[in-house]
Symmetry: C2
Subunit: 885 residues, 2 copies
């Protein structure tokens, strides 16, 4: 089965950086550092393949592997000049896991392996440092017991605490050698009690157990969960790194630390890190002693002592090494080091994690420094990260009282007073109050209140519920589906986990995490640096797919244009039926039993809707605007609550019974699959006709002002060829009428939203008359899966947890199923009409993996909410660059 173990260090290194898949990230980088003559304690790496094979061997180590480990151990002994298991001068090793990609906190580490009751004495003698020896032994027993054997770590913590308490110590370093010896005995007793046998004294037995523990840690619940979250295949496995120990705790000439080659928070090109004198690595992480800054310039006060001052020689060497490593790896590095009696050892180098802001700055800086190409810079920033840059954020240092958690439906942070009804939210906001609109769910009637509120919280609904979709469109913070909340409109209060929040009380939402906090939590507005614009410019140069926006108002259109949108891919028209007095006319229309009555009512709305379109066309001058004709079922325009029905009856001067009857008649079992979209256009052609007239007249008016308009009229929910053909004929007829009246001609196209599985199948037939397709992947996902996006929250989380689905298909396009429907639609549509313009206007248009899919599928553009436009632009560039590779 080939080679299981690769040696590194002491001039005999076998691996290198590009062997990450085999050696894991840590192992490959240790080998690479050794190759670069960076001082690394020697050791060897057991391959990731071995950990997978381990499960094939029934979770036991096998002879070939063992033999290779023994051989490499001998090599290590030779290069170190001391022997593993030599009680007089023992070679100690660390055992660490290391998977292909960094999985922080997932895998555990064992240090000081090789110690036993005799070797500890030898170590004490040879180092003349019994404190070090017994402290190392104590730590080893604890780590080995906990990590390798599964003994509850808190038992050891209790023993340590009680000895400290007894002696009145505050910190571990106050422990005397005698204390440590006692502790070793206590730890061994704990081990015996828990495991039913003595603590293993044979170093080889310790080593085998530690190796198996690393292999096994690949399948702990935590690790499996992390992989699921990050889409890491179970088959990758983890490597095991066995490395000679070096000690940062051998006295005041020793130290240990972590550092970043640039500031991971801001991206600034300054060396940045922390260290501790006379400490082992875990002490830095544990936070018992306060670490000190690496360099002088980062000192916060005079009491701090930087490594630069304390150990200038080691510091100079560290600086030389970090620069070399960053240059070599061509990216910001996260380093771990130990200084043993003045000698510097590098224990790890890896690509450093960073904030969105830092990612942008580092990428742009490195291009300026000539370190990386623009392509690389663009690929260095994860599109999803950009979201952080575009919204206000909760101050990370703020104290928070989280009372509930829902879905992170629309990112950002919002602070405001709780309001339970949209009208009231609007009124309060008019008075200048900051409000958060809290609803069971939202409906189009609530739009005005949603727009007025700082943020929206709903008890029900998923990531693509009405509230979520509208909020993202507005770039407004939203937490949806906070199911634990018990909301009573009547009591004007909600209760959650024992806390009651009344109308008018302050809450804070974190739309990026889904958290709901009591009170006002401080937020901060991140600043878009000039680097951001530069990076986006490069991204635009690389991408080949267009990016449009979903925008319903001139304001949204302007915002999106500033974010770089190249047109509107979806302008919904339903909100135009709610504004101001229009809803009255809409309801008049709905109550009319005759077409003539409906036409009369629609005539009142037409001039207003024309004005709306004029505004949008002007905001989008020179760019295409896709306008979707009315989509929602009519029952969304009538009130469902008694009081509102009574108000409507009074206003319209009809009986409440008539209203109730109409509402009943309009109500549907499954509105999602009901009388909406083009089905309305077929049964009430006067509605679509009015909209077509308003759009085309608005286009004429704007063109007369000398501005270029490109209206694209979109028929929603088409599932049969005649539906489209009838509507196309109507639009063409209306266009001729308008052009005659207005005495001007405007170029326009007519297309459809492909959002029904059947439409994908008959795409060729639809394309005979349709000039463009826009895939409505929200609805297409609902119908392809048979999931209602408003209800699926009940089981989708469990589906993702149980790996039935890799991700929520309403967040990331399901490429296997929905994606194939889209591909069928594109293939058939283009077969009939090769020049067919194709886009996507579902929520997926701003999600990176989905954008990549759209690019590969050959779409002309993606369209997303204004605040996702930069994300889509960057994702589109990634897609193009990845394809080029």
């Amino acid at each position: 089965m080939g080679k299981y173990v690769y040696y590194f260090g002491s001039g005999q290194t076998e691996g290198k950086a590009d062997m990450k898949n085999l050696l894991g990230g840590k192992g490959a980088n240790l080998a690479e550092m050794a190759n670069l003559n960076v001082p690394v304690p020697p050791g060897f790496t057991i391959t990731t393949e071995s950990s997978v094979e381990y499960y094939g061997h029934g979770e036991t180590l096998w002879d070939e592997l063992k033999n290779e480990v023994m051989g490499n151990l001998e090599k290590l002994e030779k290069s170190m000049g001391i022997k593993f298991g030599d009680n007089n001068n023992p070679l100690l090793v660390s055992v660490r896991s290391g998977a292909r990609v960094s999985m922080p906190g997932m895998m555990d580490t064992i240090l000081n392996l090789g110690l036993n009751d005799d070797a500890v004495k030898g170590m004490a003698d040879i180092t003349s440092n019994p404190r070090l020896a017994y402290d190392s032994y104590r730590r080893f027993i604890q780590m080995f017991s906990d990590v390798a054997m599964g003994v509850d770590g808190s038992l050891f913590e209790h023993a340590l605490e009680s000895i400290k308490k007894k002696n009145g110590y505050k910190i571990d370093t106050e422990l005397t050698v005698e204390d440590l010896k006692k502790l070793v005995e206590e730890y061994k007793a704990i081990y015996k009690k828990e495991q039913g046998q003595e603590f293993p004294q044979d170093p080889m037995e310790q080593l085998w157990a530690a190796i198996e523990a690393v292999f096994k840690s690949w399948n702990t619940k935590r690790a499996v969960h992390y992989r699921k979250l990050h889409g890491i295949p179970d088959t990758w496995g983890t490597a095991v790194n066995v490395q000679a120990m070096v000690f940062g705790n051998m006295g005041d000439d020793s130290a240990t630390g972590v550092c970043f080659t640039r500031d991971p928070a801001t991206g600034e090109n300054v060396f940045f890190g922390e260290y501790l004198i006379n400490a082992q690595g875990e002490d830095v992480v544990a936070g018992i002693r306060t670490p000190q800054p690496i360099n002088k310039s980062k000192k916060k006060n005079e009491n701090e002592i930087s490594l630069e001052e304390a150990m200038p020689k080691a510091y100079a060497q560290l600086v030389e090494i970090y620069k070399r490593l960053e240059k070599h790896y061509r990216d910001m590095q996260d380093l771990e080091f130990t200084i043993q009696k003045g000698t510097l050892f590098m224990l790890q180098t890896r690509t450093g994690k960073r904030t969105a802001q830092a990612a942008v700055k580092i990428a742009v800086d490195m291009v300026d420094e000539g370190l990386i190409s623009k392509e690389e810079a663009v690929l260095r920033v994860a599109p999803d990260q950009l979201d952080q840059l575009l919204h206000p954020m909760i101050d990370p240092d703020a104290e928070m009282n989280v009372i509930a958690a829902g879905l992170p439906a629309s990112p950002g942070a919002a602070v405001g007073k709780v309001v339970f009804d949209a009208e009231h939210a609007f009124e309060e906001a008019e008075k200048g109050e900051d409000v958060i609109l809290v609803r069971m769910e939202t409906s189009p009637e609530d739009i005005k209140g949603m727009a007025a509120a700082n943020g929206i919280l709903t008890v029900r609904g998923g990531m693509t519920s009405h509230a979520a979709v509208v909020a993202r469109g507005m770039g407004k913070c939203c937490v949806s589906g906070a199911e634990a909340i018990n909301l009573s409109y009547q009591k004007k209060a909600f209760e959650v986990n024992g806390t009651t929040v009344k109308e008018g009380e302050w809450i804070t939402l974190n739309g990026s995490t889904g958290e709901v906090m009591l009170g006002k939590v401080p937020t901060m507005d991140p600043v878009l640096a000039g680097d951001f614009g530069k990076l986006m410019e490069w991204a635009d140069a690389f991408r080949t797919i267009g990016v449009r926006t979903n925008a319903d108002t001139p304001h949204d259109a302007k915002v999106a244009r500033e974010f770089g949108a190249q047109g509107i891919g979806l302008c919904r028209t339903e909100h135009m039926f709610f504004e101001g007095d229009r809803i009255r006319a809409v309801r008049e229309m709905i109550l009319s039993e005759e077409e003539s009555g409906r036409r009369k009512a629609l005539a009142q709305i037409e001039p207003m809707q024309t004005e709306d379109f004029v505004g949008i066309f002007e905001a989008m001058e020179d760019l295409p605007v896709t306008i979707r004709l009315l989509d929602p079922p009519l029952h969304e325009f009538v009130p469902h609550e008694k009081e509102q029905q009574e108000a409507m009856a009074r206003q319209m001067n009809v009986s409440v019974e008539k209203i109730r009857e109409k509402v009943d008649q309009l109500s549907e079992f499954n509105p999602m699959l009901g009388h909406r979209g083009v089905r309305l256009g077929i049964t009430f052609p006067e509605i679509y006709e009015m909209q077509a007239r308003a759009i085309l007249r608005a286009a004429c008016l704007v063109q007369k002002k000398g501005k270029k308009v490109y209206p694209e009229i979109m028929i929603p929910l088409v599932g049969t060829k005649p539906e489209f053909d009838i509507m196309r004929e109507m639009v063409d007829r209306v266009a001729q009428e308008i052009f005659a009246t207005e005495n001007v001609k405007v170029g326009y196209t007519v297309g459809t939203m492909i959002e029904i599985p059947r439409a994908c199948l008959i795409a060729d037939k639809i394309a005979e008359k349709a000039e463009f397709f826009s895939f409505g992947t929200n609805d297409l996902t609902q119908m392809t899966f048979g999931y209602s996006r408003d209800d699926a929250g009940k089981f989708l989380k469990e589906y993702v947890d149980k790996k039935i689905l890799p991700r929520d298909p309403f967040q990331a396009l399901d490429q296997e199923g929905v994606g194939e429907m889209v591909e069928i639609g594109i293939e058939r549509g283009r077969k009939e009409r090769p020049e067919l313009k194709i886009g996507i206007c579902g929520e997926h248009g701003g999600e990176p993996s989905s954008v990549e899919f759209c690019h590969r599928a050959g779409m002309n553009y993606v369209s997303c909410s204004p605040y996702r436009v930069p994300v889509a632009r960057l994702a589109a560039a990634h897609a193009a660059l990845k394809e080029k590779k």
Copy 2:
């Protein structure tokens, strides 16, 4: 453009029977009769293609056509020895339409064409029968004006009536020659007033106008509507038959009549028909004089005079001809004849329409007579017709007061007292009352009441609404979606078109037409003749696809078995959660927040459900039984009305708030796309586990009794591979446990319902572990189209009317869209697992065109409600025989 006109008769016939597409049914049969030397008045037929071309010529006659007509007219003049337009001895012609298939009443006829003010005198002289001449002229003016020129026919009727009234006449024949002359003048005056010009005196002008009138009649509203109803393409067109007139009204030696070669009502092999002495054809149809029976044996009393007695010679000739024609056409014929002065002329022969009963008897008799083959016999009976034979029918002679019309949701007739709630329906039925359950819509809670009622009427819902599906399954009459009804549960009454019907009043439903009648309308139970069994036996021998049934109870299973079902294709298990005390346990389960509580509640249901399955397996001994695990969302099991919630709270000893909270929590925006099917199995595995245990234990118990069982466990609503795999693993585990406990092994298979578009796409992956697929085309139609079957009634009718859809896709499988999804599923499934067993269990399984599709698609079986089993068997035979051709 080839040949437009074909001559027939006088030994010069150009057409024949198999030229129906070109000459229309009537024209081809006239030619064929002429070929057979049956006495036919000569004439010619203008092809169907001409009528289509007519529209291409801008609705004008063109020269080539006119020339051919003139040529054939000359030929006709020559063979008759008289001339068209000869005022002394005019040749008169009839002009009739004749499409490819018989379209009764759709096309109008003009007789006596060629008469004018002079020719009428010539005719009077030459026939010495001025009465005949003026009566013919009067009739001609009326028919020409009405049919060719669109003058309102009632104007002529008024004139006729007023002259009769003035003279105190009762019947037309009392009119004197002078009266007729006056009438002619009045008719001409009407024509002039309406048309603004004189009645055309030029026979050629009359002829061209008549021909155009026939062409135009192809596109009258009535004709278009009929074609839509019967799926006849608009492009077929109609032929025009111009034929020399013969007169049945030349005196007492003349007559006219219609007859059938066998009894069209019973199928009995006896000559059957009616005639009138001294009359023209329309007089027989008009019903002014009472027609007399053709043959002596059919005389109802002594006053009647049969043709057999009145004109024995002509009768004998007619008998000889009818026998010859039936033998020639090898099917029962519908004949029209005229006897002119003792000479018999045949005017038409065509395949006679017949009742279902007659169709079966004639087909079987003709096989016995050696006239047709068994294949032909099977093909002679339309599968849809069988439905008539399997349900009680409204007495066709009964008087009815139709107060409303809904959808013909489940065929048959039902009479009963109106009841508005299921519980009450059950109670009344227990007392022996006949009841009709009237609901806004039904839900699973109503099953008991539905089973108890004679029929079901719902205000909402389509052909596949809950009420419709359940009723068809029960073979119970149902009218659904009678939207005009205003129902008030509170007032215990409904109002429709001004009529109010209160609880306890009698109504009658016709589930075959959708009519609702006030009061008790007499019904009749058709008897299944032995011929039926014979025909079905032949059908079974020809078909290659299996026919199973959808049955949920041992009773339904037995009924279906008697109808020839070869197994159960769909046994729904939800009703088992409602019966008796089980619903209490089900609700206990639903209220439990913990798995342990749910398991406890399910344990109460398990033994009862086991008993259910024992009953079904016993009823279906030796045959496969596909059992679907729980499908509906849990909210169907909790009450939604306040009183019932309160009752439940008392019964369960919990607060009403808790119940209401749970109901709210379970409620869904789109239940159809909600938390149901396998999604329940994933989130509450204990439910499916209990069901699997009950099924497998029942199978063991029945097998122990020495009976063969073939359980097929079906997982509903699968859309991803893991959903199925997880459930399959659970079933296999449970099976091992049960087999160990019961100490016996039973063969079983596990498969899935393919009802989600995504499942079709990933059918190969699902088939890795699934042993069978059953296409649930109800849901697949809903999702492929995005139509909710409970709501689509709002627009589907209009969609069919506007030809957007050829038929309601919930009635006949949409082969273009849903059909392709099915084909994709079959192809991919069989690619992975060639032996995959595939069936259909949607409502389409009993609809003939859908059965044919399933046959072509290569399914192993169709499954339908018990009462549709014979329909499916026959349709399957048709499919196989058509394919063989």
